[in-house]
């Protein structure tokens, strides 16, 4: 028999209170996200059009579109992806498939954690000191992309490792038992079975790289550059470029007399790019989880 004593009632009141308080704390994260996105869209929407995306900024960046910045971001992200993806995936393969639990590999783990925690502005200093000055690449798309690649490497390593670790050990053992070598096992069993997880990591890298400002400020992004509108190859590795994130910073803090919706519109395009890329990763992960049978 369950008797409702005052003690029990108090206990349940507290339980309800705790649930409400924690729920509100969690809800406090949903509210700003929705408010921020809807406010930015509301303010910036009047300016956003196909023409806005595909024309260059004109009139001291007060009029026109954002084409050169958009293309610059695409270039930076693309090149940094080409550099970071192979290194990141192979590093994760090493950590998950080859590394034994000894001091050396603990040091590698610490290095990965540390790399993820280095402030973005320190990455900028590193890019400037190592790539721009020491390697003599100069301020360029290549130097900025290299900086971004190193900065986003931990993202790829972490999610690839998770994907590789989720492949059951029995799969590998089976493959070894039929005489396959370590690398054959990895190539034909482990990687195909974790490809969606690896893709998720790569997608998250893209989103991270697209949003960063500080690391590219001194390594390759410029305030303004006029390029041919509509030409996807208007930039080259050796030249400097504009970038969306940098453009938002410039228009908000350095340009006076810009029309009010302009920075909002740039922010919306940047935010939409990043959130869409992230949403793709989330959808991919949900799909992957629903298909996974082991």
């Amino acid at each position: 028999m369950f008797v409702e004593t005052p003690f029990v009632r108090k206990k349940h009141r507290r339980e309800l209170l705790a649930k409400c308080v924690f729920g509100l704390m969690a809800g406090a994260m949903v509210v700003p996200l929705i408010m921020i996105v809807s406010y930015l869209v509301y303010q910036g929407a009047p300016l956003i059009s196909w023409e806005f995306l595909t024309t260059n900024p004109v009139g001291g960046m007060r009029r026109g579109g954002i084409w050169s910045a958009l293309l610059g971001t695409i270039w930076l992200v693309g090149v940094s992806l080409l550099i970071a993806a192979p290194i990141g995936v192979l590093a994760a393969v090493y950590l998950n498939e080859y590394a034994k639990d000894n001091w050396f590999n603990r040091v590698i783990n610490l290095a990965v954690i540390n790399l993820a925690g280095v402030p973005s502005i320190v990455h900028a200093l590193f890019g400037l000191g190592a790539f721009v000055l020491f390697a003599g690449i100069g301020r360029s798309v290549l130097a900025a992309s290299l900086t971004l690649a190193i900065m986003t490497l931990p993202v790829i390593i972490a999610s690839t490792r998770e994907a590789l670790a989720s492949v059951p050990r029995s799969f590998r053992e089976a493959c070894w038992n039929v005489g396959a070598t370590r690398w054959q096992t990895i190539r034909s069993i482990v990687l195909p079975n974790s490809i969606s997880g690896i893709l998720t990591g790569v997608i998250l890298q893209v989103s991270r790289a697209a949003g960063e400002t500080a690391p590219i400020m001194f390594t390759g992004a410029v305030f303004f550059r006029n390029i041919e509108a509509g030409n996807l190859f208007a930039y080259s590795l050796k030249e400097q470029c504009m970038a969306l994130s940098m453009h938002l910073y410039t228009v908000t803090t350095q340009v006076t007399g810009a029309p009010k919706p302009l920075p909002y519109a740039i922010a919306v395009v940047l935010l939409a790019t990043v959130l869409l890329v992230n949403a793709t990763a989330i959808v991919l992960r949900v799909y992957l989880r629903s298909r996974k049978k082991w």
Partner: protein, 355 residues
């Protein structure tokens, strides 16, 4: 449960293999390779494995080279005889030749760390004291943590213990999207949205101040706290929960009597990673904290942080000048702070794993 093999060759209802019976058994590619392995393919494999090992240690290489190259630009400060960079400075040196304050004096580490005078481009008396900047970073970070820790850990407890199914999934997606918002967008929000709100709400003379930056940093560091905090709560064995429930504890009693004490290392790590994120954040604080080198008296005073100083001044400092090198030294300082914070967080996490 029959394990279905997930490779392209052996999928479908016809191939329910026992996991032990060999995943690769039906893979035609494997058979072919076993039949004849030439010297080329063996050598190729050696090359690939060497490449994998190289990539494996790349993280170490990168961390060391980050420290090395940032330090390398800063280190001449301690050895170089200072030269006057501009004619005005040279003139100022002559003007001040009699009194004992040369315009371009020898760099001193003590002054760097303990002086609050930051006048890097002064014509007559250049001073590089970052105390005010350190206090700026500290004040914004501490206030951000005061806001973020209850919310972050509370949300972590809610996500891990008080909700399930759809709500949990939705909250996790929201947290992930919140973490994805670029810092320059946060800075923009601080500049255009929060600035007038803070001015009107608190009657503050300027809305770009410690409070503004701290709210942004709190929102930026909450996601990492929630995900690490949730992980560490999840790592508490279910038998702990079962024992508590069997004794008649409610969820809340379970949380604060059993789960929080059991997961306290992981929760500490979550907070530390949030701190690391907040200390290293650049663009948001650059745009939202008011950009005044100042030791704040209240949360409505504008400040400037270490990161924002580098971002704002590196573009103007001429390469190789004392100012430029001091900015790199600030970078070394930041690198060291975040390294200590992150390694401590890792030690805390490792502590729970070993248990």
């Amino acid at each position: 449960m029959p394990a279905e093999i997930h490779t392209r060759e052996a999928r479908g209802p016809a191939a329910p293999l026992h996991p032990r019976s060999g995943a690769a058994g039906d893979d035609p590619r494997q058979k072919k390779k076993r039949a004849g392995r030439g010297a080329v393919s063996i050598a190729g494999e050696k090359v690939i494995e060497a490449l994998i090992r190289l990539c494996g240690i790349s993280a170490i290489i990168f961390v060391f080279s980050i420290f090395f190259f940032v330090f390398r630009e800063a280190v001449p400060l301690f050895f170089e005889k200072p030269k006057a960079q501009t004619q005005e400075q040279a003139a100022a040196v002559e003007r001040h030749a009699d009194d004992h304050r040369p315009a371009h004096k020898v760099f001193s580490l003590k002054e760097f760390l303990f002086s609050k005078e930051w006048y890097p481009t002064s014509q007559s008396n250049v001073r590089f004291g970052v105390l005010a900047l350190i206090v700026g970073t500290l004040s914004v970070t501490v206030l951000a943590m005061v806001i973020a820790v209850p919310f972050g850990l509370g949300a972590a407890v809610f996500v891990s213990e008080f909700c399930g199914g759809k709500v949990k999934e939705t909250l996790k997606i929201v947290i992930e999207l919140l973490a994805a918002i670029p810092s320059v967008v946060w800075g923009f929000i601080g500049l255009t949205v929060m600035n007038p709100i803070i001015q009107n709400l608190f009657n503050a003379p300027i809305g770009l101040n410690v409070l503004n930056g701290a709210i942004l940093l709190a929102l930026m560091s909450v996601p990492i706290m929630v995900s690490i905090g949730e992980d560490s709560l999840k790592a508490v064995p279910d038998s702990f929960r079962e024992a508590g429930i069997a004794l008649g504890a409610t969820r809340w009693q379970l949380v604060y009597r059993v789960l929080i004490p059991a997961a306290k290392n992981g929760l500490l790590a979550a907070v530390l990673l949030g701190v690391g994120r907040a200390v290293g954040e650049t663009m948001a604080v650059l745009m939202a904290t008011g950009h005044a080198v100042n030791i704040p008296d209240s949360i409505f005073d504008p400040v400037r942080t270490l990161t924002a100083t580098i971002a704002a001044e590196l573009g103007e400092a001429s390469e190789g000048s004392q100012h430029y090198r001091v900015l790199f030294l600030i970078g070394v300082l930041l690198f060291s702070i975040t390294a200590v914070v992150n390694l401590t967080a890792d030690m805390a996490i490792r502590g729970i794993k070993r248990k």
